[in-house]
Subunit: 246 residues, 6 copies
Amino acid sequence: MSETVRADGRAVDALRPVTIERGWSAQAEGSALVSFGGTKVLCTASFTNGVPRWLTGKGKGWVTAEYAMLPRATNSRNDRESVKGRIGGRTHEISRLIGRALRAVVDTKALGENTIVIDCDVLQADGGTRTAAITGAYVALADAIAWGREKKFISQKATVLFDSVSAVSVGIIDGEPMLDLAYVEDVRAETDMNIVVTGRGLFVEVQGTAEGAPFDKRELDALLELGVNGCAQLRDIQQGVLEEEK
Amino acid sequence: MSETVRADGRAVDALRPVTIERGWSAQAEGSALVSFGGTKVLCTASFTNGVPRWLTGKGKGWVTAEYAMLPRATNSRNDRESVKGRIGGRTHEISRLIGRALRAVVDTKALGENTIVIDCDVLQADGGTRTAAITGAYVALADAIAWGREKKFISQKATVLFDSVSAVSVGIIDGEPMLDLAYVEDVRAETDMNIVVTGRGLFVEVQGTAEGAPFDKRELDALLELGVNGCAQLRDIQQGVLEEEK
Amino acid sequence: MSETVRADGRAVDALRPVTIERGWSAQAEGSALVSFGGTKVLCTASFTNGVPRWLTGKGKGWVTAEYAMLPRATNSRNDRESVKGRIGGRTHEISRLIGRALRAVVDTKALGENTIVIDCDVLQADGGTRTAAITGAYVALADAIAWGREKKFISQKATVLFDSVSAVSVGIIDGEPMLDLAYVEDVRAETDMNIVVTGRGLFVEVQGTAEGAPFDKRELDALLELGVNGCAQLRDIQQGVLEEEK
Amino acid sequence: MSETVRADGRAVDALRPVTIERGWSAQAEGSALVSFGGTKVLCTASFTNGVPRWLTGKGKGWVTAEYAMLPRATNSRNDRESVKGRIGGRTHEISRLIGRALRAVVDTKALGENTIVIDCDVLQADGGTRTAAITGAYVALADAIAWGREKKFISQKATVLFDSVSAVSVGIIDGEPMLDLAYVEDVRAETDMNIVVTGRGLFVEVQGTAEGAPFDKRELDALLELGVNGCAQLRDIQQGVLEEEK
Amino acid sequence: MSETVRADGRAVDALRPVTIERGWSAQAEGSALVSFGGTKVLCTASFTNGVPRWLTGKGKGWVTAEYAMLPRATNSRNDRESVKGRIGGRTHEISRLIGRALRAVVDTKALGENTIVIDCDVLQADGGTRTAAITGAYVALADAIAWGREKKFISQKATVLFDSVSAVSVGIIDGEPMLDLAYVEDVRAETDMNIVVTGRGLFVEVQGTAEGAPFDKRELDALLELGVNGCAQLRDIQQGVLEEEK
Amino acid sequence: MSETVRADGRAVDALRPVTIERGWSAQAEGSALVSFGGTKVLCTASFTNGVPRWLTGKGKGWVTAEYAMLPRATNSRNDRESVKGRIGGRTHEISRLIGRALRAVVDTKALGENTIVIDCDVLQADGGTRTAAITGAYVALADAIAWGREKKFISQKATVLFDSVSAVSVGIIDGEPMLDLAYVEDVRAETDMNIVVTGRGLFVEVQGTAEGAPFDKRELDALLELGVNGCAQLRDIQQGVLEEEK
């Protein structure tokens, strides 16, 4: 690893300070306020007994996610999507990513005919909002499943979550691969990648984009390694938070 | 005053615990996370030099507000207005109320050709979200004006805010007038009233609605008195928070 | 009362000429074309046997209202909300107000599982459109209920309307409280209030807004008194119209 | 002509009673409340000095029209297009037809850089709403042009309207061609045709549709003859109304 | 007929080269890629067993159509209607026309409770897109009906199509009636007419519009004759294509 | 490589038959109808001199893309996004991907203040529509740039395209990595990856998703190798097509 020091003093392979405030919401069945440095995302999991009509009678549950940003989460204000009357492509894309990431570790048969909707609302944005959202959403999801089990909507013996999942961004800046980009880094990155990894270290999603110059296999490998290591740290933080008494 | 004790142990003329976390956002020019008991609203004020085209060249500024609720702020999940593609009547109504309340204490000439947009996003809802929003929004607004003055967008001598403003709900439950209704009280109220009062004790808005039986002049007077007293307490809390070093 | 004479020669406590043309529509189950001076609102009541799905099987009926303005009801043309693809906040707000006002005098159990939708379309606007709408809507509603009773959708003995309801605007202009503001008065008012009162003289809605300077309790009381008196006159006009053979 | 007598006692080649209440609106520059039997359409013409940006500087004016129906104009209530958030195909189609019909008799050069928007709102519908709308719109348009001339927005000498225009429906019922169909006739017609004709008797639009069986040339000719005669009567009514002192 | 020769060398009463590529789509139950000169429309017919809820149990089928244009079908690019979030009036109007034209030759009782949706997507536009769409849609419809018969959704003996249907545009240019206008001709036409005719030579739709000067009966007759002859040629082409082995 | 043979007889590392019909459209400045087996996408490039307002005066051009699918491109019909009034997440996501892919090989300074919009409309879908779209879009883009150069909107010497770009899908089915998945393969794939590669063999996008089981580094490497080889073949096809006389 390089000894480059970043604007905020981090090493290239260091995460920003990560905190997960479990059970932030008094209303939702599961919730977490997750911070990756200045990025703060409120994740709530809403548990409903029953499934959408198109899934009824198949003995399977459904997990889905919606992502959004408060208008002044960012440095300048963005118009609300509700006011514009339509959801932007970026919002759609990230909502779908979060949903896929969570479903990758859920056994929907074990979940039974129950629905869990995860809302990830960015209260403050400083890069990596989608990866923070996935990491926090997993904690909210785990608590919503525990709630469903306690309420007997889910069988006591069923293993609904067969693995955990977390996500982190990586990128190449001035030719150097770096972990967990803050906003000022993100806008300068030549290549930007989001990696979603299970607790066991397997890939769920790999989304790399050349923002500046295209990248080669060697660079791709370096980014993947950084990302896998970052996700392993996030998994340990998730685990620690979930082991605490709620 | 009656000696009725409420579900949460309050006297009929007592506010819930009120906190205002000033400067919650690192991004906005002014911000406050306000709590009225279990109701939590994030208020951010976005300052822009310049005004909308229809106001250009009139030497006056513009203050407006938008209110919204996170989908799982409430006990069961509501679909997002961005997903539905339209803003509901209740959201519109409250956004307009907050804007009018704030403009009632702003000298738009003194503000100069600057625009301040206040976003009030309900993170958790337990009754009184609109009154908490107005109360917190005033603090965010005051800080945004201070920011504009510091950045020389507003004249040093101009008195932009000629008064403060806060709001509280009152209602009649089982024939008894009560201050600052929590959600469980709100749904049972025969009459529900929102009162917006300036720091000097004058009315900006009085919105009373008979949800059950119509009400008479004596009941109206009792509610107004409770509300004016509640707003006086809120004014003191606002003042205390604004006097602290930021 | 002051002896101020207004632009149109009225005393400060006088209504404009009010007419209610009952049964204007040959299509609707109840209808009224109401005029408050130059303000003309066509109110139609559509009776449907049955209720929306969410109310089915509860033995209760449903009354709701929609308000809208023709594009050239006003002095300059406004774009149609259908063309803009969304309903504005003001329209939403007034529709909700009319619905609440009417429901305040309806016994929905006595109505049975029937739905009445009241449409209030402003054909010409000269101030006070929402108060004229409520006043005319009551007449249309009464006729729609009579129609439902005649068609045996409503029990002969049930008292569906246990009171009548009307509404009027009041305001303070140049420090003087006045009744039933025309448009030219409305735009100059420091305080503007809409009052909805039952035939028995009880309040259903009190909505006062400081457009200019905030107002005190003494002014509020003066406005309420004017409004209650105005609504008593409107009640008598409604009664007169409803007693005529249709 | 056949001696068939229709449900309302008319001869097959007779119009329903037609009235045009000129100057109905106190707000619009031109207006007419037109009735074709039970069909009542309020037509208002809004005159604006200036043209849309895409026409600026070409020395030509613009005339356009919008058609809509109140929700309870018909026998059962239709949802508002503003509530549905989109305009239906039928509404679009009729708005475009009215605009084309009016522009066919307007010299846009003589109009100068002025815009006239005609709103045709159906207050009550009993067949032939689009043809009544065109017939009334012409009167509103003529008055708006007179207004513009009086205000000196239009040159005194310019002949803006070089002809008049009116419209009527015709159709074949039980094999018999008939003029000006009422709603009960319209739904039974095998062929339905709307004809727009100038004061001089030339065609502006011919829109014939086989609702039941396709039609042949002989039937087409019979319908055209009926329609041309009906439009001549409408032209005389328009002329009579426009010759009165306003 | 005049001996005028047109820009593309055609006689005034000649169609452009017409081709119908039957079965273009490997996915749809019926399809045709139709060309009228440079105008190319892909028509697909989607067969579904069953009817919309409002038609259930009436023993009748349903045929409907949707028309659209690719953004760069035309000489300059048009924004997508999906991006604009609303369908334009022209699109609505043409979709409705195509649906009516097809239904005019379908016996919906014989079709049984089946639904056929015809999509007509203009890949390249050079005038006459709606008439080409109708002409191609008939071929797609015929094949979808054959498919439904083969799959036993339609009775073997039922005659669903009791006639064929095609359409063509005609217009008057420099005083001369002409058949099947190309785009450069269409924009210059004083009168523009679309004619929909059955295989037996009866009219389904006649839609004539004076774009420039109004037209008289003699001109109308000349246009109708040209159109009927054009449609007879199109019918022969349709028949030829449908007689080929698929 | 395995000797598994696929449903269509291909080897696991073989592309489907690929054709690129260059200049398909007579209207667009550049166009290509691309087929990957049964997948057919019409790509048109629209060249406009000038840039969107937010880019004006920066001496740079703009390239963007829109992707859509005809309603019956697929095996069963999908409702039109224009009819639904909103664009789905999948459409948004793919449009953005195509735009990024193309911009990765464009020197926007060399393009100058010109805009190119690429429309990719799927006429028939059988898996890999987004990768076919990118591959065809590059050809359309190249021709639009040549057109702009010929028309002198682009400097003769400027190298606008500094590389080519193509894309292909890869996936793991029954544990076996395969190239260019057809629809029946795509729905069965455990892991699905889209790879966008430049003519020089560098990565522009890597988007891998575990649809079933998560994947490991070894599998990822196998997929990347397959994809890079597939893109090299596509690059040769693009080059061959572009070298032909147009």
